[in-house]
């Protein structure tokens, strides 16, 4: 994943408006931001301030109402709905507050199925799935179904899944929201490692001020506006 020190994510004057007229919500309001790899970014802000919407814009799940979103050298807003999945498939790993594991699949299968989607087949996919689970210390829980795992363990499996296919960008929306502070801290430490040791771009939304010292940069959001300083 050669990035030549360029900005991996580049937002220029991006806005997202939900609805029309009277009921229109300016969820993201003229946000500009450049993010480079090898760092952990943390986004904070009150509920409803537009954090998830911003994450979806970066993650090519939403197109902006105005402004431009660049991922590497792709301009997202000019892409068709058919092209966006391929960008996500190759470049982005998502981590969710509610884990979003596939409940019918074991830990190993959760990762393997994702690798399958990304073009890895058979024994190769299985081996890679085990390696990824090993990396998050879940090598001993391969055949467990999500319902038989603790919250922290689920999030580790989800992390392994997000790393499937080796995406340069990891986007996490409150990944510690459903975990106790000790378990949550462990997850953030892994994310920090992934940024620093493996030179990925990790962008995470969090409410937890106790982990801020791990961030390379912290952003604050309020009513759709983004600030680099605490408001």
């Amino acid at each position: 994943m050669s990035t030549n020190g360029k900005n991996v994510i580049d937002l220029e004057n991006v806005s997202k408006v939900y609805g029309h007229g009277e009921s229109a919500v300016h969820a993201v309001d003229r946000v500009s931001l450049k993010l480079d790899p090898g760092k952990l970014f943390i986004l904070m802000g009150p509920s409803g301030s537009g954090k998830t919407t911003l994450l979806m814009l970066m993650g090519c799940l939403l197109k902006p109402s105005s402004g431009s979103v660049h991922l590497f050298d792709h301009e997202i807003s000019s892409m068709s709905e058919q092209e966006l999945p391929a960008v996500r498939l190759e470049r982005i790993g998502f981590v969710f507050q509610g884990f979003n594991l596939f409940p019918a699949l074991t830990a190993e299968e959760n990762v393997e199925a994702t690798l399958n989607l990304k073009g890895y087949r058979g024994e190769d996919a299985r081996r890679r799935a085990r390696d990824l689970l090993d990396r998050v210390d879940m090598g001993k829980r391969l055949t467990h179904l999500p319902e038989d795992l603790s919250g922290g363990e689920k999030q580790r499996v989800a992390l392994a899944r997000a790393l499937a296919g080796d995406p340069p960008i990891l986007l996490a929306d409150e990944p510690t929201g459903m975990l106790d502070s000790k378990t949550g801290r462990k997850i953030v430490e892994i994310l920090h490692d992934l940024a620093h040791r493996e030179k990925r771009l990790v962008f995470m939304v969090s409410h937890d001020t106790r982990i801020l010292h791990l961030a390379d940069k912290t952003f604050y959001m309020d009513d759709g506006r983004l600030n680099s300083e605490h408001p």
Binding site: A104, T114, L117, R121
Partner: protein
């Protein structure tokens, strides 16, 4: 490859069983109704189809085989003169009463054919020698109706229309759609039993000489043998089938139950697949976020539909087999051929695919924000 479709399907065990039971039930309904329909259809024209003739000459404006009317037998000689007619034979069919050993009367259809040429003779003899119909008042009956006729053995005697007859043999496969048993005998015997006026026949069966065009010979016969209708065997068979199936509503009744089965199946399967999709919506959304294309996701839904249809079809067929055996005891037979089973399998697959349309629509509408809600 990890099959998300299969894993999801088998994970929801109860829902899976409901869907399978729904498909199984509708396969059963469709197959049995269709099988009975086909059995009736085949029965309706069984004598025509086994006649060995190419052309049927009948009185004008007949509705079907069973309602034949007499016309002059002299027309046989006219028919034989037409170029391209290899042979032409008289053939008689008349409703009579058969006396059972208990003394009751059963309605039967007495069929008379020429025992010298055997044109229109029974084609599957279980017992007896068909040559025996040349003897006075010797008759064959079909084993399908043996119980109703009183299981009179070969050599046993009874009465048809109060005249003594002797059972000379038993046939197979000649079951009438209208439930009046077929009794086979010589033309002469049949005419006697039915008090049939001399000099008449009910049908003339004709064979076309190889090398002649059946349609052309049919036209010729129409012109030469006047005041009659001429049908190819296929036409007369279809006319008779259409009469019993459509005009009487019997076929429509059977088919409408089959179609109802299809509807019930589609609704049950559609409802379970839809409920399952709704429950797994967040997973589908997550798959999309990971980078699955819409096609990847439709593939999962369609794969689920296919798994459902294969398992449901196999179980449905096993149940159908059991029910068909029970029905046989009750004297109601179903007719199912390979191509029809393939057809029903395809209908099952289509039903399951159709049931998935709503689910695919639902997945198309997923709001990506859904996956970020905890």
């Amino acid at each position: 490859m990890v099959s998300i479709a299969r894993k999801n399907l088998f994970h929801d065990k109860i829902r899976f069983f409901v869907a399978i039971a729904g498909i199984q039930f509708s396969v059963l309904l469709i197959t049995i109704q269709f099988g009975v329909f086909l059995r009736f259809l085949t029965n309706a024209s069984v004598l025509i189809d086994h006649s060995g003739a190419d052309l049927w000459i009948t009185a004008k404006n007949l509705q079907n085989f069973d309602f034949g009317r007499p016309f002059s037998e002299k027309k046989v000689y006219l028919a034989r003169e037409v170029p391209g007619v290899l042979w032409a034979e008289k053939y008689l069919m008349a409703f009579c009463y058969w006396k059972t050993p208990s003394g009751s009367q059963e309605s039967v259809q007495v069929v008379g054919f020429n025992p010298q040429t055997m044109v229109g003779a029974p084609w599957d003899i279980v017992e007896g020698n068909i040559e025996d119909v040349k003897k006075p008042m010797a008759v064959f009956y079909d084993q399908a109706e043996a119980d109703r006729l009183g299981r009179i053995p070969i050599g046993g005697e009874t009465e048809i229309n109060n005249r003594r007859v002797r059972v000379a043999g038993i046939t197979r496969g000649a079951k009438s759609f209208i439930q009046a048993a077929y009794i086979f005998t010589s033309y002469k015997n049949a005419a006697n039993l039915a008090f049939f006026s001399r000099g008449n026949t009910v049908y003339i069966l004709a064979k076309v000489t190889p090398g002649y065009d059946v349609e052309a010979v049919k036209q010729r016969l129409k012109e030469v043998v006047k005041d009659v209708d001429v049908y190819t065997t296929r036409e007369f068979s279809n006319k008779t089938r259409a009469y019993w199936m459509i005009n009487t509503g019997a076929g429509i009744a059977l088919l409408s139950v089959a179609i109802m089965g299809l509807f019930i199946g589609t609704i049950i399967v559609g409802q379970t697949i839809y409920a399952s999709t709704t429950e797994h919506l967040k997973e589908f959304g997550t798959l999309k976020a990971i980078g699955a294309s819409n096609r990847d996701i439709y593939k999962i839904i369609i794969q689920q539909a296919l798994i459902n249809s294969v398992i449901g079809f196999v179980l449905g067929m096993l149940t159908t087999y059991g029910v068909a055996q029970l029905m046989k005891i009750g004297k109601l037979e179903v007719l199912l051929t390979g191509p029809i089973l393939v057809g029903i399998f395809l209908i099952t697959v289509l039903m399951c695919l159709f049931s998935s349309i709503l689910s695919i629509y639902k997945v198309m509408q997923i709001d990506p924000a859904l996956i970020f809600k905890s």
